[in-house]
Amino acid sequence: MSARRLLTLASPRHRRRCWCTDHGSLALLMLALLVSACGRGPAVDATQVSARRIQAPLPVQDPDSPIWRDTLEHPARLMVQDITEPRLTAPGVELVRVRAVHDGTAVAFRLEWADTTSDLIPESSRSADAVALQFPLQGGADVPDPAMGQVGKGVRIWYWKAVWQDDERRAKAGAGDRVAALYPRASIDHYPFEAPSVPPGSPTAEAMSNRYAPALAVGNPITRRPPGGAVQVLKAEGFGNTAPAELQQGSGVGRWREARWAIVITRPIDAGPDLAPLKLGVRNYVALAVWDGASGHTGSRKMRSGWTPLVLEAP
């Protein structure tokens, strides 16, 4: 590949930043160094997540929006959760590339990590891929324990789970329920609620169906999510007491391609004290966690980060 060809592969922004020549071997060496340094994406801020303020609408639905390319990237290093049992003993996803933009009202985070499999629907011994962003309920430097907070110093979590997004995709595509997706060749003899005597789609059929789905019947919010509900907002004050937050404001859209997940999670900047308000121009904090479904990661079996500084660009 010629040096000139290599140059054309770099983004316009990078070409502006990089000075190159194609004369002689020295130039080739320099070129290699430059491609190495500049050709892998946007500039990196290893110290914090910097949310750029933009005037355009937030790319809340689009992990591939060009807006992300011009946004500083924070490489978040993850570690095994080894504080509480069950712990994770073998490392999973160790690096998440984080970018963030905001419009003064909401902040969108783009989270990207390598994952050789997209695990959508959990089944026995296999869970769904998931990612979460965690914020201290109260701002300031006196942050709670980064591992799910602590009693009296809670956290709020925006939790995206692949199965919830896939539920919506299948519903739109008329692709059947989770069982049909997991076992497309399965033949089911009979469901009582699909007996000929029960009118399809009737309240009777639904009531019968719920009778055999107790979690659905009692309204467990993890069973079915509302449209656009691939993200659930959770509250916690330490391990083991995670519960849905009273306010559910946020969204999440992800795509898996070429062995990488890219998820956009959006949350309001300040929707009141119950949703861990953020402030512009000062240091906030965020922490991350990733679950790899193929490895059976669920609950406390996860990769997590510590608190990472988060700065939302002031106007």
Binding site: S124, S125, V179, L182, Y191, P192, A213, A215, N220
Partner: protein, 375 residues
């Protein structure tokens, strides 16, 4: 971990929570020798509780053939292999329980069961150990053996599912010791599925939560035995209440069979959960296998069972199995009858201990045909 007393092991052991026994504990006795694996219990449970989406593979009650059958696949063999050889010293267990053998970072030594492990509920069905050749066909006593093992949740005193749940979504009901999984708290982590050594917690992919046997508690609350008990055509099951040994009552049917006569034994007591479904062990199985499965009391239990028909109390108690839908908290023998008593020790059912025996001649002289017993 706390230290708790497990009377089935004859010693204290480590457990995630401190010892706290319910007001009374659901208990049951299954007489394996009477089970014919008709699966009526399985169907009774299936149609009652698990006929929904995501429950297709789910059998809260199942009957498997031992030694080769298992559901989920090799649920017991996998764990036995992982635990390695363990040892009893008389009636005291000197090996490690699944709580004591938990690897670093785990609450319990558990095994994750892939969904394919639930795909063969009939594996090993009716298979005997060894091949029957012409010589063996007439050889007695039985050298070729198998038996049917009916299984439900054991509603253990020290449940592994409960201790493994980091969300405390599983609890023992204080009024009856039934282990239930709160469907509003469960977030589908599957720790309980991994932890239960009996493979009796299932993940429902449709709801994303785990589910398990609830001992038909709505029936229990009305004083009625669970579906798999009252539908058992072999009348192998009796549901009641099990006391700790020190509080055992001789007129409590479960206490009598478990504590007084030591005839009914827990399933794999060495796992350490103090399971509360007790089995009258099969009489045609080698002692070594029985000891592995039911503990060191198995050979004596078999001897007692062989003589049970001559023991009026035992024979009467077994006659009460399947005689009534109602739970039998107490019983007594009156003359040639066995009597079921309620919580106030008032009679509500009575059965003859020995049924009259009628022998019909092989030839029906009236119709002039030979009778057959294979109708």
């Amino acid at each position: 971990m706390a230290r708790v007393y497990n009377w089935q092991l004859g010693r204290e052991m480590s457990y995630w929570y401190s010892e706290q026994r319910p007001k009374r504990q659901f208990g049951a006795v299954f007489d394996i020798n009477k089970c014919i694996a008709c699966q009526t219990c399985t169907l009774a449970c299936k149609t009652t509780w698990t006929s929904g989406r995501g429950q297709e593979f789910m059998l809260w009650n199942n009957v498997e053939t031992k030694p080769y059958g298992s559901y989920p696949l090799a649920w017991d063999l996998q764990l036995l292999e992982q635990m390695g050889e363990q040892r009893w010293n008389g009636s005291t267990y000197e090996g490690r329980t699944i709580f004591e053998a938990a690897p670093a970072g785990e609450r319990v030594l558990g095994i994750m069961k892939p969904s394919g492990d639930y795909a063969f509920p009939n594996v090993g069905e009716d298979e005997t150990l060894g091949a029957v050749d012409k010589g063996m066909a007439l050889s007695l006593p039985q050298q070729i053996w198998m038996f049917y093992l009916a299984r439900i949740c054991n509603h253990c005193t020290y449940p592994a599912c409960l201790s493994s749940c980091s969300r405390s979504a599983i609890y023992k009901r204080p009024e009856d010791g039934i282990v239930v999984l709160d469907q509003s708290r469960c977030r589908g982590y599957q720790e309980c599925v991994r932890a239960c050594p009996y493979g009796k917690v299932y993940f429902n992919p449709s709801t994303g939560t785990s589910e398990k046997c609830i001992a038909c508690f709505p029936k229990i609350e009305q004083g009625i035995q669970p579906q798999c008990f009252v539908n058992c055509i072999g009348k192998i099951r009796l549901q009641g209440w099990i006391s700790p040994p020190a509080q055992a009552k001789a007129d409590n049917p479960i206490d009598y069979l478990v504590h007084v006569r030591k005839l009914a034994l827990p399933l794999y007591p060495q796992f350490g959960l103090e399971p509360n479904v007790y089995y009258v062990p099969p009489i045609n199985v080698p002692d070594r296998f029985l000891v592995q499965m039911f503990g060191p009391g198995a050979p004596a239990a078999v001897r007692t069972y062989r003589e049970a028909k001559h023991d009026k109390t035992l024979a009467g108690l077994f006659a009460l199995f399947g005689s009534t839908e109602r739970t039998i908290p107490y019983f007594k023998i009156v003359g040639d009858s066995a009597v079921a008593l309620d919580d106030d020790r008032k009679e509500f059912a009575r059965v003859p201990i020995y049924e009259p025996v009628h022998v019909r001649k092989a030839e029906d002289q009236l119709l002039q045909i030979m009778r057959s017993n294979t109708t």
